[in-house]
Symmetry: C2
Subunit: 240 residues, 2 copies
């Protein structure tokens, strides 16, 4: 391939020196909201004690409004929008970026909001397995019209390390559990206040009880494709 | 319901007077990119000959970075991000907004980029039916863990009216055809340059030929849920 264009980052192997820009990356942190990932990058700027003002960090993807991306020392902070298709485009281009930049031993963290199941508000859930609407640890990917099933187990080692950190800090109640990934926010997650709702409050609770019994501790919209792409591409991934 | 919060618009029936803000809306235009929908709103500002400067239009959803929204006379311009889950959240909240604002006879237009199949670049495709990866005109929605199938035919009348407009203008080659909706940009659409690719150039072409034979004229990532929600909610929808 003469040139590889990362369309949705507005970067390319011809117009950008990716090894120089990204070669020292060790941690990639991704989350849905662009504003939040900017705030996170500014927070990391303080934490890693860089010189310069955190407010001056520049969006590396400023040529597009699909995603935003900030680099703070060895940390890359990227937004991914909402839902499996949106994060999947970002992951394809991120994985190619890390490859072109010759990065080694990178850990990928997803930091996002989710709805807890049977947990006190504010509890952090570290994902053990990402599961689909019927609580199966799998992701269905369509490849040229054929459905392929991929596994969605995440790195156990990093998850346990993070749980250990949280135990030491004490002020962040944290559990390891299964994360259910849905493809919509309303009907798929049992919300009664969407434009469409065909079920009762009792049916909703019954579904959530079944999910809890299957080990589900939170619900959100991107975990299955994150987990499956990390596995297939041999990346260490943690999902919060 | 005492209060209805449209979370991802950062609007609510308690904090905003929705009939006053949106009651005269007649056309809702939606597209993926926030910058593009802002540019479109500024263009409409010229077209409908409003007073004031187009550059001063304000993002109604400025309290959140999930979507952006501009109102220009009877036209609402909203971004929806990439993929079915992202647009589905927007559509749920938009349909509730139009209901609360007591809007009547609204037409919903989606204006977006797509990959043409067997067409000259620049051709406008008005969607007849939105189809899935196996060319079926249907959308699978999961409701509390059960898969429900919804139809994805769009309003024939408005599509034909638009085609007529385009014939009169002459400088926009336009066709009516089926639109295939995929859940990713790389493997699902037969791209060879994703982080993962398990098929050959010939296999890709074979799939695209099959799609063309089934009436598919373009590929993108949001049409099936747009069409099915318009139908179920009784909204006139056009997809470009």
């Amino acid at each position: 391939m003469e040139e590889d264009i990362l369309y949705h980052f507005s970067l390319s192997t011809k117009t950008h020196n990716l090894p120089e820009m990204f070669g020292d990356t060790k941690f990639v942190c991704v989350g849905g909201s662009a504003n939040r990932m900017r705030a996170f990058a500014q927070f990391m700027h303080h934490e890693v004690k860089l010189t310069g003002t955190p407010e001056d960090i520049r969006d590396i993807c400023e040529g597009t409004d699909r995603y935003c991306m900030y680099k703070v020392g060895p940390v890359l902070s990227i937004s991914h929008g909402m839902g499996v298709p949106s994060i999947s485009i970002m992951l394809h281009e991120l994985i190619k970026l890390l490859h072109h930049a010759q990065c080694r031993d990178v850990v990928l963290f997803r930091l996002g909001t989710s709805g807890g199941v049977g947990l006190a508000p504010g509890t952090v859930v570290i994902t053990d397995k990402a599961v689909d609407y019927s609580f199966r640890p799998r992701f269905e990917q369509v490849v040229l019209g054929k459905v392929i099933t991929r596994s969605t187990e995440l790195d156990e080692g990093v998850a346990k390390e993070l749980l250990q950190c949280s135990n030491e800090l004490q002020n962040f109640p944290t559990v390891i559990g299964n994360t259910m990934c849905t493809h919509d926010f309303y009907e798929g997650q049992g919300r009664l206040d969407g434009a469409l709702c065909s079920f009762s409050h009792e049916e909703k609770l019954e579904y959530l009880r079944k999910a809890y019994k299957a080990g589900v501790r939170n619900i959100e919209m991107e975990s299955t494709v994150f987990a499956s792409m990390c596995r297939v591409c041999g990346l260490k991934g943690v999902y919060l």
